[in-house]
């Protein structure tokens, strides 16, 4: 997030796009609902599903899945047409505006209605609401990014925010909500193939030398590594021989599970380190038992860049150990000296090598945490980014064209499937499915289908139905209602026994390499029919 959670109560308009906030980030949803209740804030929801926030929204736009760039361009088309853009801000702080203007010029409300199904009048109203607000925030999540053109979607969101001068002000911003607790931190720490911690590129000689000195090695690899999906491809092809998986369950979470399983099975050697023997761990050669969050010290970085302490509260079961201790021990077994007295000492090393974390230590984090960048010990942390301009000097607009999803519907596969999460379960379910309370609320995988479609197919809530795509098929229970639009279905991916990622497509966004989870073509039928 460029801005902070508390600032949502200061926004005049919040555009919520592709984020089922009440389900995935409930406490942020409460903040938004309080803002609406106070009378200050208006919410515009853009989502193919009728999410709970729709009940609190001024306006709800329901685009067809996979049309985000089109309706975002449409909003900008209207804003420029009606002369509502922030001309002073654009002149002073951005470049590339002509490019953008050119690109969105063909996205008239009429054309956008054709592509996305959003009525022309609603699009215009949304554009006016957003553009006229003194401070408007955009919130988005995987609904925008999990597409073949997800990077385009993210750039379009940034375009819109800059167009109205909403970046670098309190209550504004471009605010992606991170799904898992420490996605932000995993990225910040260099858990990515092309960067060290703090996004310092592996391709920079200077950075490699600095890290090499600190880590006591002569050289560090300069070629960026492979991404998750490329690693799995590499395993299938035989280029990747061994893998070490810590705290992830790609067999359930990743697209096209057949392919993932094939990849992992092709390896010579697989190590999985986790808290449960999940589906991925079952394929391993060696399984290592790790501590969970309550059994170790450390830090997580939340979606608003706030680094906060995790504290040990209970002893781990059996011989389980904190992940970092296991890795340090393994390093020593491989002849590399790596040891720390505690997690706090690791954090001090992180701070010494990572400019955006440089001013932090456990003592400073103890009360309320700190938001990066926090470059020095006397720096209070950063509530919102780009206050005094953009890192690269000027904010750059990108003119972007909409492209249709990789897989469209046809006669054989007439439904669009979107996948996602529900409030009562979490990720691949390894924890939440073992919680009595959470399972009481949402015990089994439900396929949401529109009432009209259901009636046509003779499906009632509670019926067992089969969903098939070009890649696989699954069976689950139908839930009939108006939460999804005609011609679309929604399936959560928390349930290993209903592996929805057997259906999804591993087509990648060419830049961010995010798989296209949100859209693929499927067929729906009652179990028993063929």
């Amino acid at each position: 997030m460029t801005n902070s959670i508390e600032e949502l109560e200061k926004a005049d308009v919040i555009l919520v796009a592709g984020s089922n906030t009440t389900g995935m980030h409930p406490v942020i949803a409460s903040t938004i609902k309080r803002a609406v209740r106070s009378g200050k804030t208006k919410v515009v929801v853009v989502d193919p599903r009728k999410i709970e926030l729709v009940n609190h929204a001024e306006l709800w736009l329901r685009p067809k899945p996979g049309t985000d760039v089109a309706w975002l361009n449409g909003l900008m088309h209207v804003i420029i047409n009606e002369d509502l853009h922030a001309k002073g801000y654009i002149a002073e702080r951005t470049e590339g505006f002509e490019d953008l203007k050119q690109a969105v010029s063909t996205y008239s409300p009429e054309r956008v209605e054709e592509i996305s199904g959003i009525p022309k009048a609603d699009l215009i109203e949304a554009a006016r609401l957003y553009a006229k607000a003194p401070a408007a925030s955009i919130i988005y999540a995987m609904g925008i990014t999990q597409h073949i053109n997800g990077t385009d979607g993210v750039k379009s969101v940034a375009n819109l925010a800059m167009l109205c001068g909403n970046v670098g002000i309190e209550g504004g911003g471009v605010n992606p909500l991170r799904g898992q607790n420490n996605v932000q931190g995993a990225c910040d720490m260099g858990g990515l193939p092309n960067v060290f911690s703090g996004y310092q590129p592996v391709t920079s000689k200077e950075v490699r030398e600095k890290m090499g000195r600190a880590w006591g090695v002569e050289s560090l690899p300069e070629k960026p590594g492979l991404t998750i999906v490329e690693i799995v491809d590499g395993a299938v092809k035989g280029d990747i021989k061994a893998m070490y998986i810590m705290g992830e369950n790609p067999v359930v979470s990743d697209p096209d599970s057949h392919h993932v399983r094939r990849g992992l099975n092709s390896l010579d050697f697989l190590v999985v380190q986790d808290i449960f023997l999940n589906r991925t761990a079952r394929l391993a050669d060696v399984v290592l038992p790790a501590c969970c969050f309550a059994e170790k010290d450390g830090t997580f970085t939340n979606t608003e860049r706030r680094v906060q302490l995790v504290r040990k509260a209970v002893e781990p079961p059996g011989d389980a150990r904190p992940d970092w201790e296991i890795l340090c021990d393994l390093a020593r077994h491989m002849g590399y000296p790596m040891s720390y007295p505690n997690a706090s000492a690791i954090f001090d090393e992180i701070a010494s090598l990572t400019p955006s974390y440089a001013g932090m230590d456990y003592a400073r984090l103890a009360d309320g945490g700190l938001q990066w960048p926090c470059p020095s010990k006397d720096h209070p942390g950063t509530k919102y980014l780009h206050k005094d301009g953009f890192a690269r000097g000027k904010g750059l607009f990108h003119g972007i064209e909409w492209i249709s999803p990789a897989e469209g519907t046809d006669e054989k596969y007439p439904f669009l499937l979107t996948t996602g999460r529900v409030l009562y379960q979490y990720h691949t379910g390894t924890m939440s499915r073992r919680s009595v309370a959470l399972n009481e609320r949402y015990p089994e995988c439900l396929v949401e289908i529109n009432e009209e479609d259901a009636e046509r197919l003779g499906i009632k809530s509670g019926d067992k139905i089969r969903v098939s795509s070009r890649r696989g098929r699954i069976e689950a229970t139908a839930s009939v209602g108006d939460s999804v639009d005609l011609g679309t279905i929604f399936i959560p991916f928390h349930f290993a026994e209903v592996p929805v990622n057997e259906l999804t497509i591993a087509a990648l966004d060419p830049i961010a390499k995010i798989p296209e989870f949100k859209v693929c073509a499927v067929r729906v039928e009652m179990v028993g029919e063929e």
Binding site: P26, V27, N194, K241, D285, Q308
Partner: protein, 359 residues
């Protein structure tokens, strides 16, 4: 001088003098900010005042009656008496009535030792209840595994209603009926399980009595036996600050507070609040496992780590460092992600490291 500053004269229990506050504050807020005690029951700092319980009444010179301090705006020059005899007697009667119209047997109550009603009764030196009542016990709502609602311990302070409506903005519960039949109810009197409740637990966290309790925590430990450890929720990216309440190496319940600084100002959702029982699930991995002829057998750390070190070394020598890849984790701590990145790059010599950020 700041024109927003106001000055009040206070005759408190053990305080006499002038205090300062800001325009726009209530009398109670000014008193609290100056650490002057006034008993309250329906007031909660997280939500707008309600003025329902009459425990916070005070005498204000040149003002008629006994105004509740929680809803009375503070005005410059006010002279406030917090503990006159008259005030004290009214508070005492209010408490005795509450005791008469309910079933407050503290021996049988989960909240004993952590109950505002119990504390108030003690503070007012109540030894027996003077009022007779024909109070008939009402049924419990025990429909779900998370929250038990016991209307017999409810003092109708309305905190839960405001927490649900004003803090979490769910609006699931309200005060129903009038007079002595009043109670807190969901729409149509449904059980919580069948209502629109999303089990955030906010109502329980603000209830001053044992009317709302966390079911999983019942009989697992007395308030004074629990050790609270503040930490960060392990589920979503909001990073809510919470306290794990521990007894005998077990998480008994999860609480939070608006006094803890954090992104959630004391609010939680069902996952953070109730989804912790997997921590002690028997399925947890407890020892390293090594696959032998297709099945896992238990191994020591030494054996498992030696095996991994040897296999990795062989593969690296034979096929190069880029034939090894790492999945680090959005579930693990920063320190662990950093260490894995260091391990992949410095020990193995590959940049093949990624995680589920994209998923």
């Amino acid at each position: 001088m700041d024109k927003d500053i106001i000055t009040l004269t206070v005759h408190g229990k053990d305080f006499l003098g002038k205090v300062q506050g800001r325009k726009g504050q209530t009398v109670l807020e000014v008193l609290r900010d100056n650490h002057i005690h006034v008993p309250t029951l329906c007031y909660h700092p997280k939500m707008p005042p309600y003025g329902g319980c009459r425990l916070c009444i005070v005498e204000i010179e040149n003002m008629r009656g006994l105004p509740p301090s929680c809803t009375t705006p503070a005005v410059d020059g006010m002279v406030v008496h917090t503990h006159t005899d008259r005030v004290f007697q009214v508070r005492k009667s209010v408490l005795e009535l509450l005791l008469a119209y309910g079933d407050h047997n503290c021996l049988l109550c989960e909240q004993t030792g952590n109950c505002e009603l119990q504390d108030l009764v003690y503070e007012h030196g109540i030894e027996k209840i003077r009022f007779k009542s024909d109070y008939k016990s009402k049924p419990l709502d025990d429909s779900n595994s998370m929250i038990v609602r016991d209307p017999n311990k409810c003092v109708l302070c309305g905190r839960c209603v405001r927490a649900c409506l004003e803090v979490q903005v769910n609006g699931v519960i309200d005060v129903a009926l009038r007079g002595s039949d009043s109670c807190i109810s969901t729409f149509n009197g449904m059980s919580l399980k069948d209502s629109n409740c999303v089990f955030c637990g906010e109502c329980v966290s603000v209830c001053p009595t044992g009317a709302l309790t966390f079911k999983q925590a019942r009989f697992k430990g007395r308030p004074w036996e629990l050790k609270k450890v503040q930490t960060t929720c392990t589920y979503c990216g909001v990073g809510c600050q919470m306290e794990l309440n521990i007894k005998d190496n077990e998480i008994v319940k999860v609480t939070s507070s608006h006094e803890i600084r954090g992104p959630n100002v004391g609010n939680l959702c069902i996952k953070g609040r109730f989804g912790y029982d997997w921590v002690k699930h028997p399925d947890r991995l407890k020892t390293p496992l090594i696959r032998e002829e297709g099945i896992f057998r238990e191994a020591s750390w030494e054996e498992a780590l030696s095996l991994i070190a040897q296999r990795f070394e062989n593969i690296r020598v034979k096929s190069g460092p880029d034939s090894i890849a790492f999945f680090t984790s959005a579930r693990c701590t920063n320190e662990e992600n950093y260490i894995m990145s260091k391990f992949a790059r410095a020990v193995i010599g590959t940049n093949n490291i990624d995680h589920c950020a994209r998923l």
